[in-house]
Amino acid sequence: MPAGLTIADMTVRFGAQVVVDGIDLTVAQGEAVGLIGGSGSGKTTTALAVLGLLPATARVTGSITVAGGEVVGARARDLRRLRGRQVSFVGQDALTALHPLMTVGRQVAIPLRRHRGLSGRALIMATAALLEQVGLPARTLRAYPAQLSGGQRQRVAIVFAMASRPALLIADEPTSALDTTTQAGVLDLLRSLSMRGEHRTSLLLISHDIAVVSQVCARLVIMRQGRVVEQGATTRVLGGPTHPYTRELVAAARALTAVPGAA
């Protein structure tokens, strides 16, 4: 099976500072992989490198291929063609992630028109259908981002990213700005999207919270200070973590979620 995303020996430097230090990472087509790390571990930098959206001060070496296309050193035009069609992105804060002065309907229509060539009535129908799929009523079409709740906004952001039917979706801390009840709903949505076979969207879910990621992903990659310290199947990593940092993460997650009295 061709890989959805292959990162080989990638290093990102900001001046003399090495933020990501020679990491290797693959996401097979249709696979959901969790990328876990604390603040400063280089996980967001990795995501932006895959999208070719790092600031100009960053120097990227190594190789990143998305659906067979090389990202490192690609021309601006090729990058624009890659984004949306092959790889898409959902960030943490959905309030600022959408244009504040445009309705949800008009924003979601943009990738639909560009990547799927829809227009007119078909465009409106498709937009409404997408919103319905994530459990948003049709009147959301006419709403502005500020008029929605945090959970609703995050759903819109996911629709915006998925409208172009990308081969790979990168979600960077998509639930950490939400409260626990809303977080559960958004995680369910991501899980169902990643399991739906028809579009075969691969998922790279980035979070600091191993408990959140392990609910959605079958494989985990743990980063610390710019390096990958451990990776493997979720059950294996949770059952027998080998790196001390992973052990610390798993112990912390268990401490918060374990049944009281049993601990």
Binding site: L95, R114, H115
Partner: protein, 582 residues
Amino acid sequence: MTGWPDRLGRMGVLACAVGGLAVVVAALPWLRGDDPARSVLRARLEDRDPDPAALAAVRSELHLADNPVQGAADWLTDAARGEFGTSWVTGEPVRDLLLTAAGVSTSLAGAASAVAVVVGLALAAPVVWALSGECRSPGRCTRGVRVAGAVVAALSEVALAAALLTLVAVRWRLAPVAGWFGPSYMLLPALALGVPSGGLFARLVGTAADAIAGETWVRTWRAAGCGRITLTVAIVRRAVTAAVPQVAALFMGLLGGAVVVEEMFAVPGLGRLSLHAALAQDLPVLQGCVLTLVLAGTAAGASGIAAQRVLLGPAGAAAALAPAGPARPRRPHRRTPLPVAAVLTAPILAGLLRDPHGVRLERRLSGPSWAYPLGTDPVGRDVLARFGHGAVLTIGTAAAVTAVGLIVGLVVGLRGSAARVGVVDIVNALPFVLVGLVLAAVLGPGLLCAAISAALVACVPIAIHTRSLATEVRASGYHQAAVLAGAGAGWILRRHLLPAVTGPVLAYALTRVPSTALAIAALGFLGLGLGHDTPEWGAELAAAIDYLERAPTLVTAPVLGLVLLGVLAGSAPVELGRRTAL
């Protein structure tokens, strides 16, 4: 903090401002602390001792009230009916004078606005286009355009008008020199007035676009593979919405500039009318002019606020208003100031070593030579010497004024009570020329008048800057933590506010010195500042204009000095967060 301006809304502040100004204007004849009838006689017959009979005759002729309250009330009642009395000098009805002049000024303002929009779009478009592209380091990609915009924005109307007059009208004879007899007479004044405003407009939109390009949604849209044109349109829409209320303030600036430009090109508009009224102490005419100008500015401000509401639509939640990009705008070019300052300082130092007062009539109006590198003036004085000594007057006054402004601005900005904040916003929208006109009518023209009006205007941006920094501190988590840890106002001021505010505000005040110097020069040019015999740059330029046909090189020194000052002023950061009441 919700004080009265917040509760009233910006429209309310606007109404209060206009009301207050109307009362001040109405009371003008009495503010001089002098009998208005005496002023009338002085205005009409320069040096005759007023006798009681003449005074009484004037009083009954002009229906002058005995006390300021009655007089102001009378004037306001009349003004509300569209009656502004008669000119003290010519006896013509003020309303007729105003109507004629307003017609001229309106067509000039229209033409200047068109120029401003064209220049603004031409300068802003490349910035926005670069930002929407793959350029991931906006500061670098758009530097050229940014510097151009900043310099154009900072060109003083005085310098630009003088340069256009010298080159286009006198040297190349492409346009009429002065007067108002047809459309071709509109060309140069409209350019002089419109180009700097266009540069400022471009700077406002460009700075807003810059901040907006850093917002998260731009990344989301890019990541979804949005087209470049779609993204450009979306950024422009957001930038214009953020910049619209400031465009209104820009229009007020246009009114101020109109006084200078109309005087330079002898355009019989409102600006020139009010200037001559102020210089001749013809108070009824000045009252009418100032009120008309302020009302026009207010109308522009109100339409700006209304336009923003329409543009924002139902999305107008507070969170959506301010761009969430970098809080502190970057400077257009960090390295510009030093070489420019060096180029400016060298001739000033050279001039300071020479004698600016030696009159040698036999050498009058001579061109550049070894003995007189910049030539001589109409009475044979050394232009280089006058340039150097004038710089001390112009820039030195500006530095002193800025120092006063720094102290006042710090105090006002740190006190931060909502009521004072409203006042600051109102003063911020007033062009210094209008303030200068009113002050000249009350105090008489002179260094004091120029310095006070420049100080009034100079302390305002400093106060606003201080206020925004202080607001940042007051909104911070550590400020809240200090309050909850039991800290009192004194402790918070000493340990949290002053350390956070003093350094940046000092640096900011330094960058404001050149623009204050430009203001003082403009007032000097209009004859509201130092007298025409002092080497102050504005006064010097006004004297040189009279000899434009015979010695065009004479205007070069002050114009170049003002342009270089403009470049220095332009390299100061533009305030995006600056909220204006008008």
